[in-house]
């Protein structure tokens, strides 16, 4: 059996998973209108305060020799190592890093004293390896917006294969002019806090975060949630590189792979829910087709924006917290249903007795992924 274990979230809402869960439970949202250094315009984004980061830098050896993403990743991974007591040098421990753009701010010449080669994801990963003296070169997964949840699924597969006992899955991406200008060129950005699955949704907010979770076969490390990863799957729509299937084919294929006939104990679905018109519509159709109409759905993008490579890890961690507290998290920004699939949204924070949940994601390149988590 493969378990979820100790974890961390670094986001505008806090530097630990508990802080983040508390903030979200109190309906605090991390998305704000901000003026960013590169533009006269305001953008509605979820940015981690630079001052807040500074207060944590004393925990990092030679902090100024690391990029922003490296600093946040070191803090996040270190927190999980401290909590779990696992040894990074252990030959049975692997790090999988999930990111879309890594140190992309190096291309913007953000640093004076950093080796520009670390814009290469493998060099970024090796930098983390050398910091923590990891026994194995980290595996880097860059598969658009499904990277985070797919990395968790891959961790399970690698442990089952027998080569590792513990896999640290770290997902991270930072706000950059690179991604903001790109999504803006797609007309995909919302100027207001995003409204996943709502009739008035117009697009995404970008956010930055790093989140780490330990995946393990060690029962004694399962204590935080006593939850296993039952199944996971990815699939491609084979339809369009920048638009999802209108019939939700890839996500539907994932859901049919991971679910058995009995879906009664599924408490909720943590959807991708980016708040773009096409994505949310596609997801509603896939959930409907999979017969999940009555299972409450939430998206956490209303709190965090879209954190790209971190999203799947961060949203899994908060979903685990939600299950531990037996309390569903409101789908922030949702007011009036604006999708054609017959689905049920989580319209307010609410207590619920349940023992499993589904996490899904979809992304550019037609990729989709889903995983089922269940209490043991």
């Amino acid at each position: 059996m493969i378990f979820t274990s100790y974890n961390n979230i670094i986001s505008p809402l806090g530097f630990s998973s508990q802080e983040n869960y508390q903030a979200v439970s109190n309906s605090i949202i991390g998305v704000k209108k901000l003026k960013l250094p590169f533009s006269q315009d305001e953008f509605c984004v979820a940015k981690i305060s630079d001052d807040k980061i500074k207060t944590h830098l004393s925990q990092i050896t030679n902090a100024d020799t690391h990029t922003k993403l490296e600093q946040l990743s070191i803090l996040s991974i270190q927190d999980v190592l401290n909590q779990s007591g696992i040894h990074p040098k252990d030959n049975r421990t692997l790090l999988i890093y999930s990111t879309t753009k890594g140190n992309i701010d190096i291309l913007e010449n953000a640093y004076k004293n950093i080796d520009n080669k670390r814009v290469y994801l493998s060099a970024f990963a090796k930098h983390l390896q050398s910091y923590f003296q990891l026994a194995h070169t980290p595996v880097v997964l860059s598969n658009a917006c499904i990277s985070g949840i797919l990395a968790i699924i891959i961790a399970k597969r690698f442990i089952e294969q027998g080569n590792y006992d513990n896999v640290l899955v770290c997902g991270g991406d930072i706000l950059s002019e690179f991604t903001i200008s790109g999504f803006k060129s797609f007309n995909a950005l919302s100027n207001e806090p995003s409204k996943p699955f709502d009739a008035n949704r117009v697009g995404i907010n970008l956010g930055e975060a790093v989140s780490t979770i330990l995946i393990t076969n060690q029962k004694e490390l399962a204590t935080p949630y006593n939850t296993q990863i039952v199944s996971g799957s990815s699939a491609n729509d084979a339809n369009h590189i920048s638009g999802p299937s209108r019939t939700g084919d890839g996500l539907f294929q994932c859901l049919t792979q991971i679910l058995d006939k009995n879906t009664n104990d599924i408490g909720f679905i943590s959807a991708h829910g980016t708040a773009t018109p096409f994505n949310d519509e596609m997801e509603s159709i896939a959930f409907d087709r999979a017969g999940l109409n009555t299972i409450p759905v939430n998206s956490l993008k209303g709190y965090y924006g879209h954190t790209l490579g971190a999203a799947g890890v961060l949203e899994t961690v908060l979903s685990l917290e939600s299950m531990k507290h037996q309390r569903l998290i409101k789908s922030e920004g949702f007011e009036t249903k604006g999708v054609t699939g017959n689905i049920t949204m989580v319209e307010s924070h609410q207590d619920k007795i349940f023992s499993s949940f589904v996490k899904t994601a979809s992304g550019f390149g037609g990729c989709n992924a889903a995983a089922l988590f269940k209490k043991i």
Partner: protein, 215 residues
């Protein structure tokens, strides 16, 4: 033991299929020129090809050459066929193009047609669309071609229901480029077909190093 049933390698302006060079162009041709020549040599008409960035074009061509003459797509369930690719530079070549388009505030022209290619797994998407392959996806980034990672991961996929896999390396970084694609199928390895190899790290390294490039 599962079986590698076909492979192709593109490097040094040459295309090798199952270890034999089947197409070469002048060493002096640039990557765009070479890709255009190789597309003509392939002899297919696929209008989407012309919209792709260089990495997707390279991955597309190498995969077409690998699949040519095989029954891979008809004999395997495409819903249970995976695409697992890797490289060292992620999408850095197109990242630089997008970054260039936003560097100068007085000449600011970010384009969605470029930005969409700033993710390495778009190459997987293009292959999936071309052949309607809907199984598992993963794009790994590693410093060098990592046969062990690809073979290990494919083995885990086969354990969880995948029946066939398109795998390999598709890299474009400045003037350097290389693609190496191989097909694995869930069938017992036999030596009755000389091209077939057992799916393991040793045979992947062997076929990766097999081609004797002429320049």
């Amino acid at each position: 033991m599962d079986t590698i049933t076909s492979y192709a390698h593109i490097k040094h302006n040459q295309v090798s299929v199952n270890g034999e060079i089947i197409f070469q162009s002048y060493p002096s041709l640039s990557l765009p020129e070479f890709l255009s020549e190789a597309y003509k040599a392939l002899g297919v008409s696929y209008p989407k090809f012309h919209k792709m960035d260089a990495q997707c074009k390279l991955g597309f061509l190498c995969t077409e050459f690998t699949l040519n003459g095989t029954s891979f797509l008809t004999e395997n369930d495409i819903t249970k066929t995976a695409i697992v690719l890797s490289n060292a530079a992620s999408s850095l070549e197109t990242d630089r193009v997008h970054q260039h388009s936003i560097d100068d505030k007085s000449n600011y022209f970010p384009s969605p047609a470029v930005f969409v290619y700033t993710l390495p797994n778009i190459t997987i998407g293009e292959l999936a669309i071309k052949h309607k392959i809907t199984g598992e996806n993963a794009f790994f980034v590693s410093e060098q071609f990592d046969a062990g990672l690809l073979v290990n991961y494919t083995e885990t996929l086969i354990q969880s229901g995948t029946e066939a896999s398109v795998m390999g390396w598709v890299e474009v970084d400045g003037t350097n480029f290389e693609a190496f694609i191989f097909l694995a199928e869930k069938q017992k390895y036999t030596n009755k077909n000389a091209i077939f190899k057992p799916l393991n790290k040793t045979s992947v390294i062997t076929i990766y190093n097999q081609t004797i490039w002429t320049h």
